[in-house]
Amino acid sequence: MRLSASSLSDLVRKRDFYAGGLMLLLGLFIAIKGLSYRTGTLMHMGPGFLPTALGFILVALGLVIGASALSPSEPGESDERILPEHPQWWAWLCILASPVAFIVFGRHFGMIPATFACVFVAALGDKNATLKSTVVLAAVVTAFGVVLFSYFLQVPMPVLTWKGGL
């Protein structure tokens, strides 16, 4: 199949093009990194054997997935958007920041601040969140969570501490 300029621009609009590309890159990375470990022989396999093999399989699968973007898309499957209709950048950031807040506060101040921060940050992501509702939710989950995990399940994490030095 010859790629003209128009079909190429068609291609980059397809979701499968990126899906295949990602698998290809991942596979290449795994295979190359895997080759740096000892692969050994079939009879005495080294640690690098399986990862290298998997990497190459992933490269092949990536090529097939990417190639399927070449065929004209079926009318039923019109969803070629990578981002959803209404991207929720702020909410996504909040959700991903929530574990980070948990780590930072947990390391330095203990379970109560960590829980509060974790829930608070995550709840900010909702578009209807108000400061009051967020604080109340975080407080309720903190009270419940600390009792459950610290007292009943004995998770070894100080409830409240001060290690300073952020």
């Binding site: 795994i30 399986l50 990862p51 991903l96 780590i103 989950v141």
Partner: protein, 522 residues
């Protein structure tokens, strides 16, 4: 043979009825039912959240509880789809088709009542199947050498990734990715570290809980946040009195229920075809043999009862390959198997003889759990219905806390909390690119055992790869793999859509508009 099975079952009831185990079974089904009702939370996320809580428990109690979550969620999911038209969990997507119209006609209570009954019948059949089939499978599987185990795993992985929802080739890619993720960490055979990039925290490999919570927790929250429409609670006013079906309803539901049960139990035997496919096949079959197929979709009882019975029968049947061969059919089973492995129990055909308390206790607890669920669902229906109104904006931040603390508690290490965030981001990217992350978990759990057996097989055969087709049983599995791939390619080349299209299922917390009429009904 029947008498030994019954003696073992009796022993199992003894285990399951120990107060301690009974309590955890009850907690499991209760939480499962609750979570099944909540729109936007799936059984996978719930089991992963509860997994860290089981570390301090005995293995029997842990597996009883986690198993209870799984089938409990199926009961709850039916409530959600019948009363709200929300297919929160994939197997219940078809239940919406006739369940919600029944609700609009004011017969939602009857639909729920019959669903509970059909579910119980379906589940009981699935359990019976498990009691008699598992020991047979085990007897065969104990003869397997490494080569057979290897090709059986290959078959399981291929079936799990190609027959599940979404594009088969993308499913295979996810399985391969999962196998790779399973190889991260110290290589057991040679002791060398792989893909750790100097991080000592990765020496023990990627944490199963971090992987599961990242893929099914954080990634799902990212795709559902601010996307969940406010729930229409207009029809959710259902009380106990509304649930009683009339004699005519009952008569109408009786045969569809049995047909659904049989279809579900057959689907459970094919690895990779879980409850979702079972419910679609059941609905399509029921419509085909019905005397009035045109009425389907307008609220007929058969359209609710048959897929629900199939779902439950196949949910229980799915435990057969998982417990007797150590080969999970889908991600939920992989997670349960992972929970057993964390407890130090090696899955495989020797499990039943080495840990009879786990296997027979689990089987007996299914019955107890299903009875508890009937008791929970019938009189307490009002409470479940009220839970439907909990908004997502309270749900996901609380769940985020459980994710963080759960991952932390696995190792008492903050590193894993960071790991879960990274995996969550990766999972969301994959989701947006049209991959379904469930097969990753399948590959991850089976990966290390696959590598070990592959190595052993190669060592025994002195590096001859032909061993896989020379040994008859192994050759049979390989042939099945080839047939599986061959049909997929054939279907694709012919351009024909496969008869079942499970890709219908939108991610958790979907909007009702996402549910198109399934092609399965055609």
């Amino acid at each position: 043979m029947i008498s030994t099975a019954l003696t073992d079952l009796w022993y199992g009831f003894g285990v399951a009825l120990e107060p301690h185990n009974l309590m955890f079974c009850f907690i499991g089904v209760l939480v499962g039912n609750m979570v099944g009702v909540l729109p936007g939370m799936g059984p996978l996320a719930t089991i992963s959240i509860l997994l860290p809580l089981t570390f301090g428990m005995k293995p029997v109690a842990a597996i009883l509880m986690l198993g209870g979550v799984m089938y409990g969620a199926q009961y709850g999911g039916a409530i959600c789809s019948i009363l709200l038209n929300l297919p929160c969990h994939p197997p219940h997507a078809v239940t919406c088709l006739d369940g919600f119209p029944m609700t609009r006609q004011g017969r939602g209570g009857v639909a729920l009542g019959l669903t509970v009954f059909a579910s119980f019948v379906g589940a009981s059949w699935g359990i019976t199947e498990m009691i008699f089939l598992s020991p047979l499978l085990v007897r065969a599987a104990l003869q397997f050498g490494p080569a057979e185990v290897c090709s059986l795993m290959l078959l399981g992985l291929l079936a799990g990734s190609t027959l599940a929802r979404g594009s088969p080739i993308k499913g295979v890619a996810m399985t391969v990715l999962g196998l790779f993720l399973g190889s991260v960490g110290t290589d057991l055979e040679t002791g060398s570290e792989r893909f750790t990039f100097g991080m000592t925290e990765l020496d023990d490999g990627i944490e199963l809980i971090a992987l599961a919570l990242g893929l099914f927790g954080i990634a799902e929250f990212m795709s559902s946040v601010n996307q969940v429409a406010p729930i229409n609670t207009r029809y959710t006013n259902v009380g106990l009195k509304d649930m009683r079906p009339t004699k005519a309803d009952f008569k109408q539901a009786f045969f569809p229920m049995w047909r659904g049960t049989i279809i579900g139990s057959l689907c459970a035997l094919i690895p990779g075809t879980g409850p979702t496919i079972a419910s679609f096949v059941a609905y399509a079959t029921e419509k085909k043999i019905s005397k009035h197929p045109e009425k389907f979709g307008t609220g007929v009882i058969e359209g609710v009862v048959c897929p629900e019975a199939a779902t439950h029968s196949s949910v229980q049947g799915d435990f057969i390959p998982t417990m007797s061969l150590g080969i999970p059919g889908d991600a939920v089973m992989a997670l349960l198997l992972g929970a057993l492995m964390i407890q130090g129990i090696v899955p495989g055909p020797q499990l039943i003889s080495q840990h009879p308390d786990i296997f027979w206790g689990l089987v007996a607890s299914f019955w107890i759990g299903n009875m508890l669920l009937v008791l929970l669902n019938v009189p307490l229906i009002g409470i479940w219905v009220k839970m439907l109104a909990i908004p997502y904006r309270f749900l996901y931040p609380s769940a985020m806390f459980f994710v963080c603390i759960g991952v932390y508690a696995a190792n008492n290490d903050f590193f894993q909390v960071g790991e879960v965030a990274v995996i969550g981001l990766l999972g969301y990217v994959l989701l947006r690119l049209g991959f379904h992350p469930a097969p990753i978990l399948l590959g991850f759990v089976l990966g290390p055992r696959f590598e070990e057996n592959f190595r052993r097989a190669m060592l025994i055969s002195r590096g001859d790869i032909g061993v896989f087709v020379e040994r008859p049983i192994s050759a049979l599995f390989i042939a099945l793999c080839v047939i599986l791939i061959g049909t997929q390619i054939y279907v694709r080349l012919r351009g024909a859509k496969p008869p079942i299209k499970p890709a219908l299922y939108p991610p958790a917390g979907a909007r009702p508009g996402d549910l198109e009429l399934p092609t399965a009904a055609e």
